[in-house]
Symmetry: C2
DNA sequence: CATAAAAACAGAATTGACTCAATTTTAGAA
DNA sequence: TTCTAAAATTGAGTCAATTCTGTTTTTATG
């Protein structure tokens, strides 16, 4: 039936997210006051807190949009990986990293990561953990695919390897967003260098 | 000369840290109000902010104490590592992890990690990054030691390997402190399983 | 031993995230 | 259409970190 109430709800959600995204971008996370987001979205402060438990959850909603796009883009690589283990990993990692600053600034990433460790049980904290797991799972899927193609040894512990690759990449990404001067090409090169050790170990 | 001013300063630093450590432990980080820390340390609120830029820096000072102890303990392993690559890594990782909850609760770790990503340029943010680097460096030193002992192949990229091992361990530790139910033995077992892939690749 | 400059202290005032009791709006039954 | 309960909205009020400004203490100097 999609009653009036449901429509208004969706509309307000959208307005809040759009207002927050704009203000986070322009004024930074701390600089974007809830009062300003409320004004921009044309709702009251109380309404924002009716939709989101706290300021972090608003950012969380934006981060989720971004990461889900990345996961989607990654599927293509898993389905048709380059016929070389090193390139396959590099391509997937590349998609994650190149996409990452599309909608989110480094400052927004820093805040998002901080909140997810600070409040792991908040809605966003849990969502963020789930996203990390999904990314790990996708890397694991790529490895399984490469095993099926005969490019990776069968006796490799795919689960542990997927975690290892994701954890390393994620930690490198964290350090990357912590330094405003850090550049994407250097980040990718460093990860490639680290993965080279693994590639040598697991290739057929 | 050690004037009165310098002595008072050191004394106040100590009192603030002791008061904060006690209150963080008993009431948690959020629960420990600056006002209460000030009262307990017998200084005013303004004085606390004269010594530390913000609440996070007070926690930071406590974390630094802990990590420096860990680094010290690790030196012994680097100097005389077990004569087996897997055991050597496991011993060093074990020291880090077993020590970690000595003075700091999981909640305090969560806060510390969050602050270090949120404010990478604050005094604590920079100190935390330096501590991470020191730990990475220590793992790298262990690998160099194992290479010298002929237990690890000479052609291995020790720098990249050290980063890989540290980043993975650190990420696992982050996930560990995010889940109150997570237990140390499971964490160590998971890291051992991940490192097994590397050990197989780098052993002579 | 006075005294002025510098450093440190104190705590009231500010600020901004979040709460909550009162009010308004919507859905749907009569 | 009218009425009522449930759902949603509102914004003034609360709370705690941080800032700010005047005061006090320490040091250096003649």
């Amino acid at each position: 039936m999609s009653g009036l109430r449901a429509r208004q709800k969706a509309d307000r959600h959208r307005r809040i997210i759009e207002a927050a995204a704009e203000l986070f971008r322009d004024a930074g996370y701390e600089g974007a006051k809830i009062e300003a987001i409320a004004a921009q979205a044309e709702v009251s402060i109380g309404t924002i807190y009716n939709y989101y438990q706290n300021k972090g959850d608003i950012l969380g909603a934006i981060v989720s949009l971004e990461v889900n796009e990345v996961l989607n883009a990654g599927q293509g690589v898993v389905a048709r990986p380059p016929a070389n283990v090193g390139d396959a990993l590099d391509t997937l990692v590349g998609i994650y990293i190149e996409h990452s600053l599309h909608y989110l600034s480094k400052e927004m990433w820093r805040q998002a990561m901080a909140i997810s460790t600070q409040l792991p049980d908040s809605p966003f904290g849990q969502a963020y953990t789930a996203l990390d797991r999904a990314l790990t799972e996708q890397i694991r899927a790529l490895i399984a695919r490469l095993q099926a193609l005969g490019l990776v040894r069968q006796d490799i512990d795919g689960a542990a390897l997927g975690e290892l690759i994701f954890n390393n990449m994620n930690m490198m990404f964290i350090e990357f967003v912590k330094r405003d001067k850090a550049k994407i090409p250097e980040l990718r090169a460093a990860i490639r260098r680290q993965n080279r050790i693994l590639v040598a170990a697991i290739g057929v």
